[in-house]
């Protein structure tokens, strides 16, 4: 056990700090601290330009292997990058789905041709991805996807038909990865394929969904004979579930560190507000702020523990299962805490029409945390059955 950064790590920190100071300014000043959870619809064009700026400096995909354009940064370096990025007010990353989900999935499961075709666009901050998993009848029961993929014998291309839903940033993405049924007779997680599909084509229609924040960050995506090249399937037909689940594994890795830094900025803002409006003197609120602070530290320690392999006793797997339940419950409580710290002021919308403050948006957005990416109820089933080995519930 060694819980400190090395001198080399501290040099790396200086490099990150100075690059951010030199570049996250001027035209990018307005997007500092913007575009985080609940604010992802903001400054989209500016944030895309920022991705390219990051890429020029070599700060996208830093954890990827060097042969794929990354820096092969150590876990410590990725921690440091995320810390300093958040401290400098780095905007919500437009490229995070490509960088943390699609890229690692292609590196692990893709063909050489797929890596050559898609990784450079992600690395350069030019090509953005969205995730085509959920469907109207495949939410918690994700394996119940109905979207079909059929190999067109005349053209040799795949044809995709069906509908995806809750697709974040689909309207800002060039590509979507889709799980679809390659074997029409199959059920559940058998007979699925994992496809890489271009958004800009006649067979794909995106319809925004208005959220209770009044903004639209996610969408419905309709596939009507959408075209997908023959070799744009990752893995073989029938292996889609394996690839899809492998991708979800990456979701619980280093990317959690960046998320925690955004949480830290939110908590800092709550502390600032509490000090300014006197809520910090209320013993009950003070204790809740202390609890929130502890909860975030705990997430951080656990991510570090997981990433340093501290689960050799078998808890690593358990750890990955419980992360979602822990952070979503914590963040939902943070949203409520923010409103309680604001008190009566929490009702007042600062800008008409319906221009919510950052904390108001955060509060509303956190209502979704315990639902998307696996509801808390589904997570508890998984933890009880797989981590604790309790008897399975009969499913119909």
């Amino acid at each position: 056990m060694k819980l400190s950064f090395s001198p080399e790590d501290e040099l790396f920190r200086e490099e990150v700090v100075s690059w951010l100071a030199d570049n996250l300014c001027g035209e990018f000043e307005p997007i500092r601290f913007r575009g985080g959870p609940g604010d992802e619809h903001s400054f989209v064009e500016e944030r895309k330009a920022w991705e390219q700026k990051l890429a020029e400096g070599g700060w996208t995909c830093i954890g990827w292997p060097k042969q794929h354009g990354g820096r092969a940064a150590t876990v410590e370096q990725q921690v440091i990058f995320n810390e300093e990025y958040a401290r400098a007010g780095g905007p919500g990353r437009m490229g995070h789905i490509g960088e943390t989900l699609m890229g690692p999935t292609l590196i692990a499961f893709g063909s050489d041709a797929q890596r050559e075709r898609y990784l450079p666009g992600i690395r350069a901050g030019r090509e953005f991805w969205c995730q085509g998993y959920s469907e109207p009848s495949a939410g918690s029961d994700l394996a119940n996807v109905k979207t079909r993929a059929r190999l067109d014998e005349n053209t040799g291309e795949w044809r995709i038909n069906g509908q995806k839903v809750w697709t974040s940033l689909a309207h800002e993405s060039q590509y979507v990865f889709v799980i679809a049924r390659t074997d029409p007779e199959s059920v559940a997680h058998k007979g699925l394929g994992f496809f890489l599909v271009a958004m800009d084509q006649p067979g794909v229609t995106v319809r925004p969904i208005e959220q209770l924040t009044g903004t639209s960050e996610f969408n419905e995506v309709f596939f009507d004979d959408a075209v997908c090249a023959a070799d744009d399937i990752v893995g073989a037909p029938g292996e889609g579930w394996k690839v899809a689940m492998g991708l979800l594994g990456f979701e619980r890795g280093v990317s959690t560190l960046g998320q925690q830094m955004l949480f830290q900025n939110e908590l800092d803002e709550i502390v600032r507000v509490a000090r300014a409006n006197g809520a910090a003197r209320d013993p009950a609120l003070r204790q809740r702020i202390a609890e929130a602070h502890i909860g975030l530290r705990i997430m951080r320690f656990n991510s570090m523990r997981m990433l340093s392999g501290g689960g050799d006793d078998g808890s690593l797997q358990k750890e990955a299962m419980i992360y979602k339940l822990y952070w979503s419950s914590w963040h939902r409580n943070l949203g409520k805490l923010a409103m309680d710290v604001l008190g009566a002021e929490s009702e007042i919308v600062p800008e008409a029409p319906y221009g919510l403050s950052r904390l108001q948006s955060m509060y509303l957005f956190t209502r979704a945390d315990t639902i998307y990416g696996g509801t808390n109820q589904i997570q508890r089933n998984i933890i009880a059955e797989r981590a604790l080995g309790m008897p399975r519930e009969p499913r119909g």
């Binding site: 056990m1 060694k2 819980l3 400190s4 950064f5 876990v75 410590e76 995320n82 810390e83 300093e84 990025y85 958040a86 401290r87 925690q260 830094m261 830290q264 900025n265 800092d268 502390v271 910090a280 003070r286 204790q287 702020i289 202390a290 609890e291 602070h293 502890i294 975030l296 530290r297 705990i298 997430m299 951080r300 320690f301 656990n302 570090m304 523990r305 340093s308 392999g309 501290g310 050799d312 006793d313 808890s315 358990k318 750890e319 419980i322 339940l325 822990y326 109820q377 508890r380 089933n381 933890i383 009880a384 059955e385 981590a387 604790l388 309790m390 008897p391 399975r392 519930e393 009969p394």
Partner: protein, 348 residues
């Protein structure tokens, strides 16, 4: 940044767990409740033979020279079986204190502590009552900002009954004319370090207690059938245990982080320990609450072993600083002027 334990540390944990689970059965715990001291010299001797009493004693005094990081996993195992002997206080709290006090006192007592011939117990002002004072060959006691080293027979103690029948608590009066072994600023530094290690010991044991209650409940809900099925298959039951599993798993890293701070990074220890104790004791208390619920009416009986662990968790949560006190420590850091919050300080 490395949260892993070494192969040796994990192997030692395994062998200690094997020994404790075999020896410290619930039947043996119950038998101990009715004895005069509630403690078993033969068991203490076995712990000494395993090297546990000397684990943290410096090598020049006949010990293994290990620290809180080496001991923390063992303290978890002590919690798992609700070990009655004062091993955690002795090895994690009192021996390092004795080393810090140094001088003749340390030179005389550390070798005896290493072999287990002497049981050393420490307590600070925060401990209204002193656990295991009746079997302490040497009691290191802080009262009114001063430290005293009292040998068995030099002080009187009056027993207080604990909600946990396995705990033996005593009010101790410092005898007139007792020699002060540390005072002033040194006494304050030692109090804070001792309090940190005491709270760390509680936190580590709470992890073990929570795991024990989970294990008992998983077993019970697999065996107990209603509506023709094991009750553990019902979501309404299993979600109770999933909630405990999450709390417990997430309390481990802060406890290990606190152990590291206690061993290597004294400046960070206060905050790290406060976080660890709060999280671990919350996990154990939730384990107790939910385990009783999933045991149904059986969970409310004296006969079922669950209450042994539930009561120990209850007691530990309120000793070496209760939840309110530790939370206050955290709040003071957050609201301090010029507090180092934010992205660069998230590892505090």
């Amino acid at each position: 940044m490395d949260f892993t334990f070494s192969e040796d540390q994990l192997l030692f944990q395994d062998s200690v767990r094997g020994f404790l689970v075999n020896e410290i059965t619930p039947e043996r715990l119950r038998a101990g409740w009715d004895t005069e001291t509630g403690r078993d010299p033969a068991l203490w001797q076995q712990l000494a033979e395993l090297g546990l009493t000397g684990l943290t004693v410096p090598e020049e005094h006949g010990g293994l020279g290990m620290n809180a990081v080496d001991f923390v996993l063992l303290a978890q195992e002590c919690g798992y079986v609700a070990l009655p002997e004062p091993l955690v206080n002795h090895a994690l709290v009192a021996v390092p204190l004795l080393e810090d006090l140094g001088g003749e006192l340390a030179a005389r007592w550390l070798p005896l502590a290493a072999t287990g011939e002497a049981r050393v117990v420490a307590a600070v002002e925060q401990n209204l009552v002193v656990e295991d004072a009746h079997v302490a060959d040497l009691l290191l006691l802080e009262r009114d900002g001063q430290w005293y080293a009292l040998e068995q027979g030099q002080f009187s103690c009056e027993r207080n009954e604990s909600v946990d029948p396995g705990r033996r608590l005593f009010s101790v009066a410092v005898p007139a004319g007792a020699t002060v072994v540390a005072g002033g600023a040194q006494a304050r530094i030692l109090r804070s370090a001792t309090l940190n290690r005491g709270a760390l010991g509680c936190a580590a044991q709470a992890l073990g207690l929570a795991q024990r209650m989970i294990d008992l409940s998983v077993q019970y809900t697999a065996d107990r059938k209603q509506f023709g099925k094991p009750i553990g298959s019902f979501q309404a039951v299993k979600h109770h245990m999933a909630n405990v599993a999450v709390r417990l798993e997430y309390a481990k890293a802060p406890v290990h982080r606190a152990a590291y701070a206690a061993a290597e990074d004294a400046a960070a220890a206060g905050l790290a320990v406060a976080q660890a104790k709060l999280m671990a004791c919350e996990a154990a208390n939730l384990a107790a609450k939910n385990s009783i619920q999933v045991h149904g009416a059986m969970g409310y009986t004296w006969e079922v072993d669950l209450h042994i662990f539930m009561k120990k968790a209850w007691a530990l949560a309120n000793t070496w600083g209760d939840a309110g006190w530790h939370k206050q420590q955290v709040a003071e850091v957050i609201f301090a002027d010029g507090a180092a919050l934010g992205a660069g300080a998230t590892f505090q």
